[in-house]
Structure formats: C-alpha cells, structure tokens
Amino acid sequence: MSTIELSGVSKRFGASVALDGISLRVESGETVAIIGASGAGKTVLLRLVAGVEDPSGGMIAIGGADMADVAPERRGIGMAFQNFALFPHMTAFDNIASPLSARGASADEVRRGVESVARMLKIESVLDHRPRALSNGQKQRTALARALAASPSILLLDDPLRNVDAKLRFEMRLEFERLLADQGATTLYVTQDYREAMALGHRIAVMDGGRLAQVGTPEEIYFKPTGVEVARQFGDPTINLVPAHPASDDRGAFATVGGARLDLAPGADAVANGRECMVGIRPEALAFTEDAAGVFVVEAVTPLNEKVVTLVAGAEGTELLVSRPSHEPTRRPGERVSLHVAAREVLLFAREDGARLSGAGAGAGAGSTPP
C-alpha cells in the first residue's frame, strides 16, 4: 500500500514562500495531476515528496510512514525530471539500468528489465547512445524509462511532456494513460496543460501561489471551479468572464451581459446579495439562436479542426467567445446574432476575491463532458 500523505506541508526559500500549508492524500494506485502556473509550487511539491528537498514545516508520509528522516534513495520512488536530468556520461542503457543496479539486480535481470521498459517506450534502438546523441523525444522517453525501470510503487512525473514537440506530446498523452494504468503506481503528475491533467488524473490538484486552490475530479474542476483562477486554467478557448450585477424580476434571476439578458439560476441574485460579480460562461455552453435583431455582432471566426471559435461583441465593449462544433453553420463577420446559454451553465463569481458563488455548471449530469 503506497499512499502519499501530505499534511500542512510548507516550504520557504529565504523570505519567499514556495508552499504554504499543503494537505493532500493520494490513494494507492491513484494518479493525481498537479496543475498550476509557473512558480505555483508544483515542482517544489514533487521534490519534497522525492526527498531531494526538505519541507520547512508539515509532514510527508509515504505508505503511512513519516518520511522526515528517510533519504531519497530509500523512499522507493521513480522520478522523471522536467529537464530530463539524464546522466550525460552514461549510455541510455546505463541510465535506465541505474535504479535496477542500485537495487542489487544481477546483470541478467538488469538487461531484461531495461529491455522490457525500453520496448514499451520504443527506444530499444538507441540504448547504446549517450544522451547527447538522442533527440528530445528520445531523451524524454529515456528519462521516463529510468523512472519506471524498477517498477516503483510511487511515480513522480514532473511535466514530462514539457520539452517535447506538440505532435509527440499528443501521442505520449495517449500512451501515458495506458502506461500509468499498467504500472498501477501511485502517481503525482505535474503539468501545465489542462488537457494532460484531465486525461491522466483521476483527480486534479490545482495549485496557485503555493496553495492548493482546488482538489477534485476532472468534472468537478471543470464544472464547479472554486474560483475564477481555477476556471481560467481549464478550457480552450478560455472561459468568458464578464462583470455583472445579478438582479431579479418576475421572470427570475438575471444579469445583463453585453446588452442582452442572461438568465441565471434561481436565487443567484440572493447569493450575490448586491455584490459586484463576474459571470463565467464556457465558450462551448454558448449557442447561436436565429434572431435578426440580435445584440451581438460577429467580429471574427476562427475554424479549428473540430470546432469553430467565433468572437462576438455586444454593448459596452463586451466580447464573448463562442465555440461550436464545426458541423454547425458558420457565422460571418458583421452578422448580428443572439446567444443562448442554459442558466445552470452560468457560473457566478464574486468580483473581489474570485470565489464562485453559484452556478453548479452542468455537472457530469446532462451528458456533457469536459473537452
């Protein structure tokens, strides 16, 4: 049983606080994707779990045992570093073999171990190369193979796809899903790409400024973000955020967005309670309706393979992005349109701190899934 448990973990470098009171429990065999902007503390968190840095406060336990005095080599982890950190003076084979030989495996076991993981990652042909002679993709796979070689019960992957090109990244993302499932290891997967996080994480931990902003399943994170920052990090194109004053009349709660009435979930105005708010609408939740007198004017149309992103402008300079599947009719710039969005898909955030006030989103219910 290899759970990872962080309780109240903090890390300071001099006066700057890198991590501030992180508490997180990762179940045995679970993959938690850690996402956040640069400098949010993702890598530091991984290093603390690996033991290459010591926490300034709090406790880290692996498999229930306190790791405070346990050296990195005794934690039974496999780690892939963002910059690969291959051993430049060793061949790819020796790189991958290092965790096996450290565990006292015989030459034969080492060879079999290296070859099987190399076959899985399709790098058998470059095993006798030094890192210098490897392409970035091969370096990345070698680093990953090294992390996996000894079948560790804990896998720490620090943005392993950061330094590889877009095509390879897409392929690897698909492979990773299978790979992580096969390994069955308890995995912390750091990334800056929300798609990677949603594809690979059983749960996602969103970090912001050294704190955990939200921890939840991909659906929870996408449809019920705790705040504006979390909502902004997920989704492409990013969520539309528009300042609004929720009010209500005989038709129910509403806000005015770009000169159009936007129905809100019942009681939204009560929750807002007169505060300055922001409404958040996912571009794919918006739909065009046939209406020649629409208040929105199409400004730009950007076809992206499977979808078309349309930028529309309303009153007071309000601009909204609308993302529709590409089989739907495309609008033309200058066209007047109306927009429709289901009230339950509108998120309401407080303006001053960005916290979500209401709007559960569609949830995983209505058959909608995050992209």
């Binding site: 290459v52 990195p72 080599e73 934690r75 570093f81 051993f87 430049p88 290092s98 210098r132 090294r146």
Partner: protein, 285 residues
C-alpha cells in the same frame, strides 16, 4: 567557415603565425641556447649559426660544472626530483581536500560559507613575503622547516584556493537534478558523488590540477626561504648557476628546458580532457 575569401585566409594565417612567433620565440631561443657554450651565447653580434654541444646537459646530469675558475658541484637532478615530489604531492593533497570542499561550497548554503570560501581565495592575493617570516619561525619551532611535509603544507596556499575556486564553478555548472535523479534511482550520496559529480566535473578538476601543478612547480619564494639545499626545487636550484666566474647561461637554458618538459608534457596530455565537452547535452538547455 567555407565562405571566406582567399584574402581572409591569408590574413588569418599571417596573424596566427605572428602570435605563434611571439609566444614561441623565447622557448625556441632557450632551446637553442641550451645547445651552445657560454662563449657562443655571449658573442657579439649574436648569430643563429652554431655547433650544437651537449656539454650543458652533460654538466647538469653528471652534476659537475666545469668553469674557468674550477669545478663546481651542482645538484640539479636532485632539485628536479624535489620539484616533482613537492608539486605532485601538493596537488594530490589539494585535490583530496579541495574537491570535496568545492562541492560543499557549490551545493550547500551554510553559515559563513561565502566568507570561508573568500578567505581561502584571499590566500592567493596576499603577498607571500608577508607570511614567510612568521611562518619560518613557527616552522623551526615545529621542526617543519626544511621538510617535504612542511613545504607541501605551505604549497597548499598556492594549490588549494586555485582548485577550490575553479572546481566549485564546474560543480555549479552540473545540474543538481542529475544528482537528484541518481539519488532517487536508489544510490546513496557518496556513490552519487563518485559516479556522477566527479566524472561530470573531471575536465574541470583536470584543468585545476594542471594549473595548480604549474603554479607549484614555478614557486620560488616559499622554497627559497623554507628549504635548504637538499629540499630545493629547480626554481631555487637555478641560483647555483650564478657562479663566481660568471653566469652560466648555457646551463641555465638547459636547466629551463629540462624543468619545463614535465609541465609541457602534462599540459599536452591533459589538453584533450580540458577541451572535452562538459555537460554533454544531459539537461535540456
């Protein structure tokens, strides 16, 4: 570089020739002097044409110097041996002490760390004469004066700071993540130091060791004051050629040729390590 014109190539050739001439001339001149007698060297006008003689080398190796005033015993060969012992032992000791220290200064931030490192560096720019007098007195008291151990100890003032500061820079250039990766793969820190840190900084350690060796070899003042005749290195021993019957230029030249040969050979041998690539593309840069 295949797009340069003939003119560029010619100019480059001429410039390189000039630089070579400038740096190689004294060495070539000394090499020529070493095969001439004192009379040939001192004739006016000087001439490039001469009959080579092995007299000078013979005198050095046999240890007997024939001058007009008579025969003089010189101990050049034992001086050369002293130089070798002192330099090799000093550099070896400085490497044993300096490389781990350099690693500590590069990797760990500790209280007074920078101050200690700087203090060690300051030994390089303190005038040696300043410490020599008290050092002589202490060494006589301790029985270290005129011993190899005493000299090797003092030579650390020359070698240790050099190795410490050069190797520290090389350690800082190695990504700590490479060491972290080896640790997380399941190796202890000592194994990591031996298998990762040292091999990756080997070119730097070689460069620093070579430089320290040359500085130690060329040292004059410490050995002059602290060593007597039987512990003298060549630099001090060369004073013996300033004899009552004049300066023995031929023997001095031959002595110089013999004494630069080990360092020259070492430098040529180490060259390929010095230019070898360092990080070899391990870390995405």
């Amino acid at each position: 570089m295949d797009h340069q014109s003939t003119l560029e190539r010619v100019v480059r050739g001429v410039l390189i020739a000039l630089v070579l001439l400038f740096f190689m001339f004294p060495i070539v001149w000394i090499l020529m002097m070493s095969f001439q007698t004192n009379e040939q060297i001192l004739r006016i006008p000087p001439s490039l044409a001469f009959e080579p003689t092995l007299e000078n080398y013979q005198a050095l190796i046999t240890g007997r110097l024939e001058t007009q005033a008579g025969t003089l015993d010189i101990r050049f060969m034992s001086n050369l041996w002293n130089s070798l012992v002192l330099s090799v032992c000093s550099v070896a000791l400085a490497l044993v002490l300096g490389v781990p220290a350099a690693y500590a200064f590069a990797r760990f931030r500790f209280r007074l760390g920078e101050d200690i490192a700087f203090t060690l560096l300051s030994f390089r720019f303190a005038p040696p004469l300043l410490v020599l007098l008290p050092l002589t007195l202490y060494f006589q008291e301790l029985g270290l004066a005129d011993t190899y151990i005493g000299l090797i100890w003092v030579y650390q003032l020359i070698c240790l700071p050099l190795i410490l500061w050069i190797v520290r820079g090389y350690f800082e250039d190695v990504s700590p993540d490479i060491e972290h990766a080896y640790r997380t793969a399941g190796h202890g820190w000592l194994t990591t130091f031996r298998r990762i840190s040292i091999p990756l900084t080997a070119p730097g350690i070689a460069a620093a060791g070579l430089l320290a060796f040359i500085f130690a070899w060329n040292n004059f003042i410490f050995a002059l004051v602290l060593a007597s005749a039987d512990k003298q290195p060549v630099t001090v021993g060369a004073l013996a050629f300033v004899t009552a019957s004049g300066i023995q230029y031929g023997q001095i030249a031959a002595a110089i040729v013999l004494s630069i040969t080990p360092t020259l050979a070492l430098a040529l041998y180490a060259q390929r390590y010095l230019v070898e690539g360092l990080s070899l593309g391990a870390v995405k840069g």
